[in-house]
């Protein structure tokens, strides 16, 4: 099995360790990821799309026009996946839009018919759940994980077409297959607040504060995410919240690929876990992992 890999911006250019763990996990599962030259920003569905929908479609369609793999294209980022699935949705829904976008693409010698299949890396992991179970060498005993699905992994369901928009199961199942516990918590389906940061930082911090409180109250000892925007929102803001509100948040945030990698027996250093701002070492010691 093989897929084209769409990396986007945030992961490769700011959080490359998330890319490292993801690539290692796919390699171990025997799934080949093909790097493609010449991609631009996906572009950001919470940024560029909000200021110019047509530009968002044109850049997204150009990216998809570069994909050649029959298995389609995958991304480690929920934002990129929503954009690329969204481009397919809008282009295939309306012939006028498809013609308009292709008129622009023609000026740069490209054409896109709307046929490339797009998947989130967690979709592929879920489809390979049995394969994952077979590769678990070090079950994640003692990990009490608060699974954060994030919005764009699920919604709008008409575009994403994966899992349930309000009662999803896929990531919980993956986490459980690794030997970890998935802890239920209030506000599980709420937004992390990252996209609001661009217009109202205080509101954005309030949203993540509420989530962190609910997660701590439920007794979870770490969080699992599948989107780099959610990752940054959870990880980068704990120190700021502690400063502002006298809280004592110190909750390790894991990318799903990192949890899978740990269960596969990879060393934290080879996945770049040392680059996390909130080091997971304390957690590892406390649960004798």
């Amino acid at each position: 099995m093989s897929y084209d890999l769409f990396l986007g911006c945030v992961i490769p250019a700011r959080l490359p360790f998330l890319e490292a763990s993801s690539r290692k996990v796919f390699e171990k599962l025997g799934i080949k990821l093909n790097d493609v030259e010449g991609f631009s920003c996906c572009p950001d569905p919470t940024g560029i799309e909000q200021i110019d929908h047509t530009t968002w479609l044109a850049l997204g369609a150009r990216n998809l026009s570069l994909c050649r793999n029959n298995g389609g294209v995958i991304s480690f980022c929920s934002g990129c996946v929503e954009t690329l699935k969204g481009v397919n949705y809008f282009i295939n829904k309306d012939l006028t839009t498809k013609k308009e976008i292709n008129r622009y693409l023609q000026k740069v010698g490209k054409v896109y018919e709307g046929k490339t299949e797009v998947k989130h890396f967690a979709e592929i992991l879920y489809e390979n759940l049995e394969n994952i179970k077979k590769n678990v060498e070090k079950p994640l005993e003692g990990f009490k994980v608060a699974v954060h699905y994030g919005c764009h992994y699920l919604r709008p369901s008409e575009i994403i077409e994966w899992d349930d928009p309000f009662e999803p199961i896929t990531i919980d199942e993956i986490v459980k297959a690794l030997g970890a516990e998935s802890v239920e918590y209030d506000l599980k389906m709420e937004c992390c607040g990252n996209p609001v940061e661009k217009s109202d930082r205080d509101l954005s911090l309030l949203m993540i504060d509420n989530k962190l409180k609910a997660i701590e109250n439920a007794g979870a000892n770490c969080v699992a995410v599948v989107c780099p925007a959610c990752y940054q929102q959870y990880e980068f803001n704990q120190r700021e919240l502690n400063k502002r509100n006298n809280t004592e948040y110190n909750l390790p945030i894991f990318y799903l690929s990192e949890l899978v990698g740990l269960a596969f027996g990879f060393f934290p250093e080879e996945m770049g876990l040392n680059f996390h701002r909130i080091k997971p070492n304390e957690l590892f010691e406390s649960i004798h992992f």
Binding site: F17, A20, G38, S40, D52, H53, Y104, L105, V196, S199
Partner: protein
């Protein structure tokens, strides 16, 4: 006082006919995390109402409610019993704000970055060396002239530059 602008109203409905299905039940606002945390100051139902009425000045000039507070969580779209495509309508409204140069700086900064680099976050030296340490490949991104040509086609470059000139 707000003035009804029929042309504006028709533009929105032409772009997304689902606007006319709304019967103002407020399910969207009930499920909206931002409406909850701002005590209704941000209110998706009200934005839709203003769009139905064609209140262009409220939506684009005054921006009350402020459409930039939408977290794009897409809950309202899932919950709407009338299948109104709220976030698509909000996107259209925000796109019109963009054309008028009335949008938050962070969106402009992202637009500028994409226009200049093809990507939203350029690769810093520190990240490149970190990538090397992690054994990650060198990434060849889009040729910037190609991106600029495309972004001139969609008027994006002109709109970004217009804001800089202001």
């Amino acid at each position: 006082m707000s003035v009804i602008n029929f042309d504006f109203r028709n533009q929105v409905i032409k772009h997304n006919a689902s606007l006319s299905y709304c019967y103002q039940c407020s399910t969207c606002s009930g499920g909206c995390p931002v409406a909850l945390l701002t005590n209704g100051e941000y209110n998706p139902r009200k934005i839709i109402e203003e769009a139905i009425l064609g209140l262009q000045d409220k939506l684009i000039e005054v921006q009350d409610p402020n459409p930039w507070l939408c977290s794009t969580c897409q809950k309202c779209v899932e919950l709407c019993p009338q299948k109104v495509e709220l976030t698509e309508i909000f996107t259209l409204i925000k796109n019109k704000c963009f054309e008028e140069g009335k949008y938050p700086e962070a969106f402009h900064a992202q637009g500028q970055a994409v226009l200049e680099n093809g990507i939203a976050i350029p690769y810093s030296k520190a990240v490149l060396s970190r990538r090397e340490k992690l054994g990650l490949p060198i990434i060849t991104t889009a040729p910037i002239e190609e991106i600029k040509t495309l972004l001139r086609q969609t008027n994006f470059e002109q709109n970004i530059i217009k804001r800089e000139a202001e």
